[in-house]
C-alpha cells in the first residue's frame, strides 16, 4: 500500500471519529451514550493489542493484565486521594512499568512466540487468582479495600484536574474517552510513520535481518510492549471510571480472549481493524447478553474458530484486498 493512500485512510478515520465524538451526544439518549463510552474505552484497549501484536509482531495473550492493572491502579489511587488526575496518570505509568519489567525478562531472554503468548496469558490468569483472593480487611492499600472477587464499588469518577468537587457528567466523559481514542489512534499512526515505527515493522517482517543491520531488536520490542501496556492501562482506567467499579474480572480469561478476538476479527496489521472488530464484537456481546439466546462464550468461540480457519486475515485487510482488486 502506498504511503499516500495510508495517510488518506487514517485522516478519513480520524475525521469520522471526531465527527462521532461531537455529534453523538446530540442525538443519543443517556443510556446509549454510556454504552458508547465503554465501547470507545474498549476500542483503546483493542488498539493497544493491535499495535503490539499487529505491528510489533509480539504475541501477547495477556493484554488484559495491563488493562486490569490500570483499572486497579486508578481505583486505589482515586480512593486514597479523593481526586482522579493523579490516578489517571498512574494508570498509564504503572502498567507501562510492569510491561517493561515483564518485557525485559521475555525479550532479553529471547523467548519465542509460543512462549511469549503462554507467559503473558499465565501472568493474566495469576493476576486473576491473586485479586480474587484479596477478600477481607487485611488486603487494603491505604484507604482502599481490594475486596477480592466482589470488586471495588463506588469509585470516585473523573473530575476536572485540580478541582475534585467538579465531576465530569456523562457527555463530558464521553468527549474525554473519545479524545483519548483519537489521540491514541493518531499517536500510533505518527509513531508508526516515524523511523522507530518503521524499524518495528521491519522487525516483525524479519527479525534476523534487522539484527544484522544493526538494530537492537530486543530494545525495540521492549519499547513497543511498554507503550502497549501503557495504552491498555489507560483503557483500564477509563473502564473503571465508566462503571465506577472494578473487579478481578478485568483479568479473566473471558476478558483477555475478547481482546484477541477483536483483533483477529478486525484484522492484524491495521489500526482500523481492531477498532472495527471491537465494535462488532462488543455490540454482539451486548445483544447476546440481553437476549439470552445462546451462551456468549459459545458464540465467541465459534466466531473465533471461524475467523482463524476461514478469514485468517480479518475483516479490514480482507475488504481492503477486495477493494484493491475491484
Amino acid at each position: 500500500m502506498s504511503g499516500r493512500r495510508w495517510w488518506k485512510g487514517s485522516i478519513l478515520t480520524t475525521a469520522a471519529m471526531v465527527l462521532i465524538a461531537l455529534g453523538v451526544p446530540q442525538v443519543v439518549d443517556q443510556f446509549g451514550l454510556l454504552q458508547l463510552t465503554v465501547f470507545a474505552a474498549m476500542c483503546i484497549l483493542a488498539l493497544s493489542l493491535g499495535f503490539v501484536w499487529g505491528y510489533g509482531g509480539i504475541l501477547c495473550f495477556g493484554q488484559s493484565a495491563f488493562f486490569g492493572l490500570g483499572a486497579y491502579t486508578y481505583a486505589v489511587t482515586a480512593i486514597n486521594l479523593g481526586e482522579s488526575t493523579v490516578g489517571m496518570l498512574l494508570a498509564l505509568v504503572v502498567p507501562a512499568v510492569f510491561a517493561a519489567l515483564l518485557g525485559y525478562f521475555m525479550f532479553y531472554g529471547r523467548l519465542s512466540d509460543v512462549y511469549l503468548g503462554v507467559i503473558t496469558l499465565s501472568v493474566t490468569l495469576i493476576f486473576f487468582n491473586l485479586m480474587n483472593s484479596t477478600a477481607g480487611d487485611a488486603y487494603r492499600v491505604g484507604k482502599a479495600r481490594l475486596n477480592g472477587f466482589n470488586g471495588m464499588p463506588s469509585l470516585p469518577t473523573l473530575n476536572v484536574p485540580g478541582d475534585p468537587g467538579r465531576l465530569l457528567d456523562p457527555a463530558e466523559t464521553f468527549y474525554l474517552v473519545m479524545a483519548c481514542l483519537v489521540i491514541v489512534y493518531v499517536g500510533l499512526h505518527v509513531l508508526l510513520a516515524s523511523h522507530f515505527g518503521r524499524v518495528v515493522v521491519a522487525i516483525r517482517e524479519n527479525e534476523a535481518r534487522c539484527e544484522l543491520l544493526g538494530y537492537d531488536v530486543r530494545l525495540h520490542k521492549l519499547l513497543v510492549f511498554t507503550i502497549g501496556g501503557g495504552i491498555a492501562g489507560l483503557a483500564g482506567c477509563l473502564f473503571a471510571n465508566w462503571g465506577a467499579f472494578v473487579s478481578p474480572n478485568v483479568f479473566s480469561l473471558t476478558m483477555t480472549s475478547q481482546i484477541i478476538i477483536w483483533v483477529i476479527v478486525g484484522g492484524l496489521g491495521t489500526l482500523l481493524g481492531p477498532i472495527i472488530g471491537c465494535l462488532i464484537m462488543q455490540y454482539l456481546a451486548t445483544a447476546l447478553g440481553t437476549q439470552q439466546l445462546a451462551n456468549t462464550s459459545l458464540v465467541f468461540g465459534v466466531i473465533f474458530l471461524a475467523f482463524v480457519l476461514l478469514v485468517p486475515r480479518g475483516i479490514v485487510p480482507s475488504l481492503r484486498r477486495l477493494a484493491l482488486r475491484a
Binding site: 504475541l59 495473550f61 515483564l102 525478562f105 521475555m106 532479553y108 531472554g109 529471547r110 523467548l111 519465542s112 512466540d113 509460543v114 512462549y115 503468548g117 503462554v118 507467559i119 496469558l121 499465565s122 501472568v123 490468569l125 495469576i126 486473576f128 487468582n129 491473586l130 483472593s133 479473566s252 480469561l253 480472549s257 484477541i260 483477529i264 445462546a294 451462551n295 456468549t296 462464550s297 459459545l298 458464540v299 465467541f300 468461540g301 465459534v302 466466531i303 473465533f304 474458530l305 482463524v308 480457519l309 485468517p312
Partner: protein, 288 residues
C-alpha cells in the same frame, strides 16, 4: 518429625498434581511444538465425564480412570481431525484455534450443566501421621502420577509406536521418507495427550469440584510447567514439576496458596530468562 513427614507429603502431592495436569500438554507440546490452549477445558471435560458417569451408577474408579480419559481422548481426536489438522505448520493459528475451542467448550458445558459447581466425594479415607492426618486419596494420586510417567517412559523407550513417535519428534521429514505418516502420528499424539488430560481432570474432580470455567484455575500452572520444562516430554515435566511443585507448596505452607502460585510464576520467568528453551533445552539434553 510428623510435621516434616506431612510437609514432604504436601510437596510430593504438589509435584504429583503438576505432573498430572501438565503431562498431557507436555506430550502434545513435545511432539508437535504446539501449546494446546484448550488444555484447561480438556481437564474440565474430564472432570464432568467422571462426575456424570459416577452419578449414573458407574464405579468411581472406573469413571475416573477409564471413562474420563476415553471421553476426552475421543473429543481430542475429533478436534484434531476438524481443526488442528487444517492448521499444521501454522503454529500461531493453531494456538488461536485451540483458544477458540476452549471458549466453545466453556460455552457448551455452561449451556448443558449450568454455571454451578458439580462434585463427587473423594474415595478412601484418611491416614493418621502422628498428630496430623493425610488424605489417602491424595497418596494414591502421587502413585498414579509416578505410574503415568513410568508408563510413558516404557512406551516411548520399548515399543514400536514409541520409536516411531520419537523419530517423528526428532525429524518429521526423515520419518516420512521412511514410510511413517507424520499426520497420523500427530493425530495419535493429540488423542493420547487429550486422554491423559481427561484422566487428570477426572482424578482431580473429587478434590476441587468442577465448573465450566475451572480450566482457568489449572492452565496457568500447566503452561508454566510445560514451557519451563522444555521439549523433552518426561525429563522436562518431571524436572519442572519437581521444582515448581516444591516452590509452590513451600510458599503455600508458609504464606497463602495465591502467593504460592505467584511465586511459581516468578520462578518460571526468572528460569526462562536464564534458560530460554526450558530446563531440558540446556540440561538433560537428548533425554526423553
Amino acid at each position: 518429625m510428623d510435621l516434616a513427614a506431612v510437609l514432604t507429603f504436601e510437596i510430593l502431592n504438589g509435584v504429583a498434581t503438576l505432573v498430572l495436569i501438565s503431562v498431557g500438554l507436555a506430550i502434545i507440546f513435545g511432539m508437535m511444538r504446539v501449546i494446546n490452549l484448550a488444555h484447561g477445558e480438556f481437564l474440565m471435560l474430564g472432570g464432568y465425564a467422571a462426575i456424570v458417569a459416577t452419578n449414573h451408577g458407574v464405579n468411581i474408579w472406573v469413571a475416573m480412570l477409564l471413562v474420563a480419559p476415553l471421553v476426552v481422548g475421543v473429543i481430542g481426536v475429533i478436534a484434531e481431525r476438524l481443526i488442528i489438522r487444517v492448521l499444521y505448520g501454522r503454529m500461531i493459528d493453531t494456538l488461536l484455534a485451540t483458544w477458540g475451542l476452549s471458549l466453545f467448550f466453556i460455552g457448551i458445558v455452561t449451556t448443558i450443566f449450568g454455571n454451578t459447581v458439580a462434585g463427587i466425594g473423594a474415595p478412601l479415607g484418611s491416614l493418621g501421621v502422628g498428630r496430623y492426618t493425610i488424605s489417602l486419596y491424595r497418596l494414591v494420586l502421587i502413585g498414579i502420577a509416578a505410574a503415568i510417567l513410568a508408563v510413558i517412559f516404557v512406551a516411548l523407550r520399548r515399543t514400536r509406536l514409541g520409536l516411531i513417535a520419537r523419530g517423528t519428534m526428532e525429524n518429521p521429514n526423515m520419518a516420512a521418507a521412511l514410510g511413517v505418516s507424520p499426520p497420523r502420528v500427530y493425530a495419535t499424539t493429540f488423542g493420547v495427550g487429550a486422554a491423559l488430560t481427561g484422566l487428570a481432570g477426572g482424578l482431580l474432580a473429587p478434590i476441587s469440584g468442577v465448573l465450566p470455567t475451572v480450566g482457568a484455575a489449572y492452565v496457568a500452572k500447566a503452561f508454566i510447567t510445560v514451557i519451563s520444562g522444555g521439549t523433552a516430554i518426561l525429563a522436562g515435566t518431571a524436572a519442572a514439576s519437581s521444582l515448581f511443585g516444591s516452590i509452590n507448596q513451600l510458599l503455600t505452607y508458609f504464606t497463602t496458596p495465591v502467593i504460592g502460585e505467584a511465586g511459581l510464576l516468578a520462578a518460571a520467568i526468572l528460569l526462562l530468562r536464564a534458560l530460554p528453551h526450558g530446563i531440558t533445552g540446556k540440561l538433560f539434553r537428548g533425554s526423553l
